[in-house]
């Protein structure tokens, strides 16, 4: 079975965010970029399915600038077969991103489309279900594990207070969260092989965004706290402070 996985180039989660001059972007100086961690789970899930089936192709797609080729190569090094870089702006309007991806993916013969549950930069959790809706496909979101039985995927989905088991008919879109699909490391052989794998670059058809970023701000600094004491004896003072000063008990 052919599987397409949509991935995104995002800053490493350890990055300390600084706002760039102008106030509408982050300062990318010194920032290390990675494949969004949730998308790595999706790539891993696709590779395992392909390996279990013994045939099929895993295709990676990203919307981004030319530098995102680096993240496609990372996915190819993990074991994906080919990649498509849609060059275009991926902003805060998830629907614009979903449309650009849908335009590309309509041409893919992929009964299964996987994405991370969200991107580690915009944290929006929109693109998967939007893409599915635009393509007229069912979608299961926040899936921590799933298995294929013929043309049905049985998905474990995280919700408040438990796990839902959802069965979905293919063709489908599934968004993956942390769970069963701990991503593999790329081997040296994989990294070498990735250089020779096909990576197609083309201009994306991204509709104009309909959300305007007015400002990007750092969170307000928290007032300095205080150490109420050391060891078990401090518990009484802590509870008093929580009750009388913070008024939260």
């Amino acid at each position: 079975m052919n599987i397409t996985v949509c991935i995104k180039r995002t800053p490493d989660t350890e990055t300390r965010i600084r706002i760039a001059e102008g106030g509408d972007s982050i300062d990318s100086g010194g920032v290390k970029y990675i494949v969004s961690p949730y998308d790595e789970f999706a790539v891993e899930a696709a590779l395992r399915l392909r390996e279990a089936a013994g045939d099929g192709t895993v295709t990676l797609v990203t919307l981004g600038d030319a530098a995102a080729a680096e993240q496609l190569r990372s996915g190819l090094a993990m074991g994906a077969d080919k990649a498509v870089l849609l060059e275009g702006e991926s902003g805060f309007d998830g629907l614009a991103t979903a449309r650009a991806l849908a335009t590309e993916l309509e041409g893919h013969d992929a009964p299964l489309i996987l994405l991370g549950v969200k991107a580690a930069d915009d944290d929006a959790q929109q693109v998967g279900p939007m893409l599915a809706t635009l393509m007229g496909r069912p979608c299961v979101t926040a899936v921590s594990d799933f298995e294929l039985n013929g043309d049905t995927a049985r998905c474990q989905r995280e919700v408040e207070g438990g796990t839902e088991v959802v069965e979905v008919d293919l063709p489908a879109v599934i968004t993956i969260t942390k769970g069963a699909f701990e991503p593999r490391y790329a081997s040296l052989k994989g990294i070498m092989a990735a250089k020779r794998k096909p990576l197609e670059q083309k201009a994306a058809e991204v509709p104009a965004a309909r959300m305007t970023l007015e400002a990007l701000e750092l969170p307000p600094a928290r007032p300095e706290g205080r150490i109420v004491g050391e060891g078990a004896e401090a518990a009484a003072e802590l509870v008093r402070a929580l009750r009388e000063e913070a008024k939260v008990l």
Partner: protein
């Protein structure tokens, strides 16, 4: 275009706490936009009785789409019903909770309506007629202020951030006629596995008790459970750092931080958590933060309001006893 529709989430006929926040916020936004707040509930038979009280949170009308086949969440059918309700009115905004259902449903609704959406919003205003939101990005390491340039603006609201405000008003309940055909659904919820009886989700709790590597062994989580129970298991939930989730000690559903959940409880306890930047991102918007750690230089103390330096195996039982004594004393 000034009305605001609030999605009124319920489970098994019980209106969820976050729904009161969503309806109250929708009512406030509607008055800024010069319209009315309407609530929409979707679920099984007998729903009208349980959602009628939403008028008391500012819903001038409470629309109810009830059918036995809709008792559980069914994404395709629910999205179609929300879209039908939106098209039947004149809405400037549609608000959902940023819950598992809301996060799944709202993007489908936005795509069907062909309007953009803002996720996990912590501020929303309609000043000047345009909906403007503020939302965390990079897991709370920054905030984006966004103006929504299409109508209706589809928005999910982060739980625990917006006040639930009771008003002396009563909304009229209106039944929506629905016809559903479950045999056509391409995705079906076939089973629900409860995490553990009565356990509250970390993203919804008003108090979170989180443990990290310093807990040393998953069996020691009983100490955190005791503190949670003393605080009240109806308001308090357990959380975990990424390190202990990666070690397999706790389920991912409890993970707080980047690649986990971003939480905003009134009170957050970080016990045996040193405070990696990814964890701080996920909990720094909590109301009051308490850190217990034996290392006085741990970064967690940099964001904590109150800290205790010491051995958590001594501090936790003492803290639990003090909380119990406080609660017993009224």
């Amino acid at each position: 275009m000034g009305d605001v529709l609030a999605f009124a989430e319920q489970r098994d006929g019980v209106v969820r706490g976050v729904t009161h926040e969503v309806v109250s916020t929708a009512a406030a936004l509607a008055s800024e936009l010069g319209g009315e707040c309407h609530a929409l509930a979707i679920g099984g038979e007998g729903l009208s009785g349980s959602v009628g009280a939403l008028g008391g949170f500012g819903a001038a009308r409470v629309k109810v789409a009830a059918d036995g086949a809709l008792a559980g969440y069914a994404a395709e059918a629910w999205a179609a019903i929300v879209v039908e309700a939106v098209r039947a009115g004149s809405y400037g905004a549609v608000l959902f909770p940023a819950s598992a259902v809301g996060r799944d449903l709202a993007p489908r609704v936005a795509a069907l309506l062909d309007v953009p959406m803002a996720s996990d919003v912590v501020e929303v205003s309609g000043a000047g007629g345009a909906v403007v939101v503020r939302r965390p990005v990079y897991s709370g390491k920054a905030f984006a202020r966004l103006r929504m340039d299409a109508s209706p603006a589809v928005v999910t609201l982060r739980p625990n951030v917006f006040p639930a405000q009771e008003r002396s008003a009563a909304g009229a309940v209106e039944e929506m006629a629905v016809s559903v055909d479950p045999s056509s659904w391409k995705a079906r919820v076939v089973e629900f596995k409860t995490a553990s009886a009565g356990s509250l989700d970390v993203s919804e709790a008003s108090v979170v008790v989180s443990g990290g590597r310093g807990m040393k062994d998953p069996e020691n989580w009983a100490l955190l459970e005791n503190l949670r129970d003393a605080l009240g298991s109806d308001v308090a939930a357990l959380g975990a750092s990424r390190a202990v989730v990666d070690a397999g000690w706790r389920p991912h559903g409890e993970q707080v931080g980047q690649t986990g959940k971003t939480v905003s409880p009134k009170l957050y306890f970080a016990v045996g958590i040193s405070g990696a930047i990814q964890h701080l991102a996920g909990m720094r918007s909590s109301g009051t933060i308490v850190a217990v750690n034996k290392d006085p230089d741990a970064p967690i103390f940099g964001v904590a309001d109150y800290g205790i330096v010491g051995d958590l195996f001594e501090v936790l039982p003492a803290l639990t006893d003090q909380v119990k004594a406080l609660k017993a004393g009224g």
